[in-house]
């Protein structure tokens, strides 16, 4: 991979993040008087409001406010959460770590299960197993994640079959088996949601690739079926799958927000929802920006991975 390609993608990521930070700040700051009002409550006098606005710099022009904010963020200072009166950064890191645990478990499990299933379905196309896989993945993408989560709670955490806790969290440093049992249901939900996507993608790409000329020519050269599938077809079928995996991280982030709420799991998604409902603007800015950063970084890495497996990209562009 040429350094120019990497550098280009990296610069694009930085520009994107810059624009996103402006969008986030602009959206949350659209009503500047609001913030002071939120802090002081609706019965605050005009004088008190004005004093606080002055103190917080809310009367400054937009670019100056943005400059102050982004300067702080770049130095690791996200400010104070209004509703909890504590610095945002430690809270953010703690929640981010919890969400990362959920996401990491889910992505690994999904990759292990979905890609072989997709390949299998493609090779046994239109067989009974393929049909079953197809139909179940169709249902998988047609049910929202909070519904899947709720159904899992009813089935596995109810009074009848109380296998796993339905809510809450235990840190891994405290008690590993307990910590694991708490993330079983959220991870299972995420896996069910994502598996359908990856599997459908792998299957369709695999079918597409298996019909291509070079696979046919590999067969004609007398290569064994295993050789054709693994050496020629799979490598090419996985390229788009990597992109979909990366796109799914965005999807995963969205799902995580909802699923953490379902299972009362203290991750960053739940923190975002909390920030929205309690109108905590600094917390909202910090959490949303963090998630956007993660998303952009993952996309950047996916671009690199895509460049690695697809030699065509490395040279031109």
């Amino acid at each position: 991979m040429s350094p120019v390609y990497i550098l280009k993608r990296f610069c694009f990521m930085l520009v994107t993040l810059f624009c996103i930070s402006i969008i986030i700040f602009a959206i949350t700051m659209v009503l500047p008087g609001n913030l002071a009002q939120v802090i002081l409550g609706e019965f605050a006098t005009d004088d008190a409001l004005r004093a606080l606005e002055e103190q917080m710099g809310l009367n400054l022009p937009f670019y100056e406010q943005y400059g102050r904010w982004i300067w702080g963020v770049l130095h690791g200072n996200f400010g104070h959460a209004l509703s909890m009166d504590q610095p945002i950064l430690p809270l953010l890191l703690f929640r981010l770590k919890n969400s990362a645990i959920l996401a990491a478990f889910s992505i690994v499990i999904v990759t292990i299960i979905a890609i072989p299933l997709g390949v299998f379905a493609a090779l046994r196309r239109n067989s009974a197993v393929d049909r079953i896989i197809q139909v179940s993945s169709y249902i998988g993408i047609s049910v929202p994640e909070f519904a899947t989560g709720s159904l899992l709670i009813i089935a596995l955490a109810g009074p009848v079959l109380n296998l796993f806790p339905s809510a809450g969290y235990v840190p891994f440093s405290e008690d590993v088996p307990k910590a694991l049992s708490h993330i079983v249901l959220p991870v299972m939900t995420l896996v069910i949601v994502l598996i359908a996507h990856i599997m459908r993608q792998t299957r369709s790409e695999m079918i597409h690739v298996m019909q291509s000329d070079y696979v046919r020519s590999a067969r004609l050269r007398g290569l064994s079926n295993t050789m054709v599938v693994f050496k020629h077809a799979l490598r090419n079928a996985l390229m788009p799958t990597i992109t979909v995996l990366a796109l799914d991280v965005g999807y995963l982030i969205g799902s995580v927000v909802v699923i953490e709420e379902v299972f009362a799991y203290p991750g960053i998604g739940r923190l975002i929802v909390y920030a929205v409902t309690s109108r905590d603007v600094p917390l909202l800015q910090a959490t949303v920006l963090t998630v956007a950063c993660v998303y952009c970084l993952v996309n950047f890495l996916a671009d690199l991975a895509y460049g690695l497996v697809n030699p065509r990209i490395r040279y031109h562009s």
Binding site: V15, T16, C19, I20, I23, I24, I27, T28, V30, L31, Y138, I139, I141, S142, V143, P144, E145, F146, A147, S150, L151, I153, I154, G158, P159, S166, R200, R203, S204, I207, H208, G250, Y251, I253, G254, V257, V258, E261, V262, I272, V273, A275, V276, T277, R279, L284, V288, V291, A292, Y295, C296, N299
Partner: protein, 281 residues
Amino acid sequence: MSCIRTVFSTLRRYPSAMVGSVLVSILLIVAIFAPFIAPHDPLKLNPRERFAPPSVEHVMGTDEYGRDVFSRIILGTRTSLGIGLSVTLVCAVAGGLIGLTSGYLGGRADELIMRAMDILMAFPGILFALLILSMLGSSIVNVIVAISITGIPKTARVARSSCLNVRGEEFIEAAKARGERTWYILLVELLPNAVQPIIVEASIKVGFVILTASSLSFLGLGTQPPTPDWGLIIGSAREYIFEAPMLIVWPILAIAFTTISFNLLGDGLRDILDPRELGRV
């Protein structure tokens, strides 16, 4: 008559489009005639009959306020389809215009517009919607606005690539040579020939929008009570998840039925309009 016959013979060759269009028609009929189908007032509280089990009077039982669940599910069809179809329409029109213009203009303007779309897409959709709703406040109209904004970039991309395929055709050159105005070329020459992928994308989008909207309602940030809305019903029934699990199961079935119907229709339309994709996915 021959036109209708063509539609039917096409549908017969594409089973998923057939099934999808039948199911979607059922949903549309239910949504339009919802107040006449629902046996009870979906908003009427009845504290004496909380959590009533299914009966002839209440087919799906009653909820925590004694409201008839069946009526709420039926009326919820309106909310869901209303949001799903309006968002899709807004996206198709706005995204379609942006994409076509961008593709037709080409050069610097195209680059700029598409980069802007890329940046908007570098935001997980539901998060962007959350952010917009936190600013606008929660209501059905704002949910439509928020989800539309997150959905426009993708449609714009589809429209642009479709436009690029048509742009080089001779009839566009002819129109230019005749000295037609840009908007005329865009709307009269380009649009009809580039519209198919936009329609396919739109039809696949509906199910996705309905899922997103129901997630937002579930979080309490979308549609507000007491509107009959499936996501909202699940969100409020969560407290009684073990006492009355069916309160959660009914709306889930409704959501699944709706998204599956629209996905089938979308997949079918893609197969019909874009035969190259046949056999993939």
